[in-house]
């Protein structure tokens, strides 16, 4: 088995781990973190596919450029998602603190 396949297996494992966290962990920040982990593992899988299609020219390894471009786009999109999610969590925190100060109940786990 070549090294890239090992990376693929690792990515599969990390995907399972982070999916579990995304579903089970109740804290939104930890969910966001797990999402990032999940996304990065998915990109590794892309990278493994790219590497499989590559080879060596003049001793320098190269990989299929298309998945690489897709990963770069995907990383930026994932960053945008993270920013938005974190901003929402912070805003929610602030709203929660405000309601706490007024000592009123606010149900959000429904």
């Amino acid at each position: 088995m070549v090294a890239s396949t090992w990376f693929g297996l690792g990515a599969a494992l990390i995907i399972g781990l982070s999916l579990f966290q995304v579903i089970i962990n109740p804290e939104p920040l930890r969910k966001v973190l797990a999402f990032n982990l999940l996304g990065s593992a998915v990109f590794v899988l892309f990278g493994v596919l790219a590497r499989r299609g590559g080879g060596r020219i003049d001793g320098v390894a190269f990989a299929d450029p298309v998945p690489q471009a897709l990963i770069i786009t995907g990383l930026v999109v994932a960053f945008a998602a993270t920013v938005l999610a974190v901003a929402l969590v912070l805003r929610l925190l602030q709203a929660e603190c405000a309601t706490q100060d007024h000592d009123t109940e606010c149900r959000i786990d429904d």
Binding site: I15, V83, E96, Q100
Partner: protein
């Protein structure tokens, strides 16, 4: 051969360990720190997978900016928890889930992992990918880096959308402001009131960083690098300067700021439309002009991305401008 395989396996084991810590560590700080470390090691892994462009992006955005963002959020969360000890934790779900449910979820996740692993092992040989097509088409673009070719020529629409994603994400972040704070500046990024070390760093590092960022963008045409990597580095330098208190975050109502943010996408769109006039269609480059046009697009994109990423890290406006 075996030596590199051992090195790769070692890298993989470190990655797995850091992933497990990220996922399962109790304190949020530890988890985020582990994730940042994971990102850096992952950049190494990308080099091993022969994807240097991705390695640069991963290090800049995946590990650096994301890590910074999460670290800030965790810190803020902790401060608020201390300030409001009776505050309920925000949860999207009831935490005390039934143990049976947890076991079932774990089993299903393990199932997904197992099927994925099986699929990875049984992928057909030889792979049918696009290495050849890209190599044949690349000279027409005048570029030397195939990844940049894919990003800015073959799949330019993806890149255009990717650049606007950042703009709209920024609008989304701003939308969370209080109505009273609209038009004002985001909260100051200064971490501590007065730190000589940070000020020094803020003064020393940016010139090098900016240089490096500009190089990354310039090199991107023929070597690993490009607008996103360069822009991220520039943004990081700006953020550093902001946290050192050397510069002020601009107000969100600032016209110039908004133009800086959208100019990259607008110019991209304009050059894309000019393709019609050049007879090569939307998002096409007339023969001979392509490298120059791509460089212009990349230059403005780098600028816009840098400003947008910096503003994204700064967050929603907090204080209204004095009328």
């Amino acid at each position: 051969m075996t030596l590199t395989l051992f090195a790769d396996l070692g890298l993989l084991i470190i990655l797995l360990g850091l992933a497990i810590i990220t996922a399962f560590a109790r304190p949020a700080f530890v988890a985020v720190a582990a994730y940042m470390a994971y990102g850096l090691v992952m950049a190494l892994a990308w080099v091993r997978l022969a994807a240097v462009d991705v390695a640069l992006t991963e290090a800049a955005i995946g590990s650096g900016l994301t890590g910074m963002l999460l670290l800030g959020a965790v810190a803020w969360n902790q401060r608020q928890t201390e300030a409001h000890p009776r505050r309920r934790q925000i949860r999207l779900q009831v935490p005390a889930t039934h143990p049976l449910l947890i076991i079932v979820v774990a089993a299903v996740c393990a199932g997904v992992s197992a099927v994925l692993a099986w699929v990875v092992v049984t992928l057909p040989e030889p792979p049918t990918l696009q290495v050849e097509q890209v190599r044949l088409a690349l000279p027409a673009t005048g570029l030397g880096n195939p990844v940049t070719g894919v990003l800015l020529a073959f799949r330019a629409i993806d890149t255009l959308l990717e650049s606007v994603v950042l703009v709209f994400a920024l609008v989304g972040v701003w939308s969370l402001a209080d109505d009273a704070a609209w038009g004002g500046r985001p909260r100051s990024l200064r971490l501590v009131q007065h730190s000589h070390a940070l000020t020094l760093l803020g003064q020393l590092l940016p010139p090098f960083g900016v240089l490096m960022g500009l190089y990354l963008f310039w090199a991107g045409a023929d070597a690993p690098g490009g607008a996103f990597q360069g822009g991220t580095l520039l943004a990081a330098m700006w953020v550093l300067a902001l946290s050192a208190g050397l510069a002020k975050v601009p107000a969100v109502s600032n016209r110039q700021l908004r133009l800086l943010i959208s100019i990259g996408s607008l110019l991209f769109l304009a050059i894309g439309l000019a393709g019609w006039a050049g007879g090569v269609g939307f998002l096409g480059y007339p023969a001979g002009w392509s490298k120059a046009l791509i460089l212009i697009i990349e230059a403005t994109l780098t600028l816009s991305i840098a400003v947008t990423l910096g503003m994204l890290v700064a967050g929603r406006p907090h204080r209204a401008l004095p009328r």
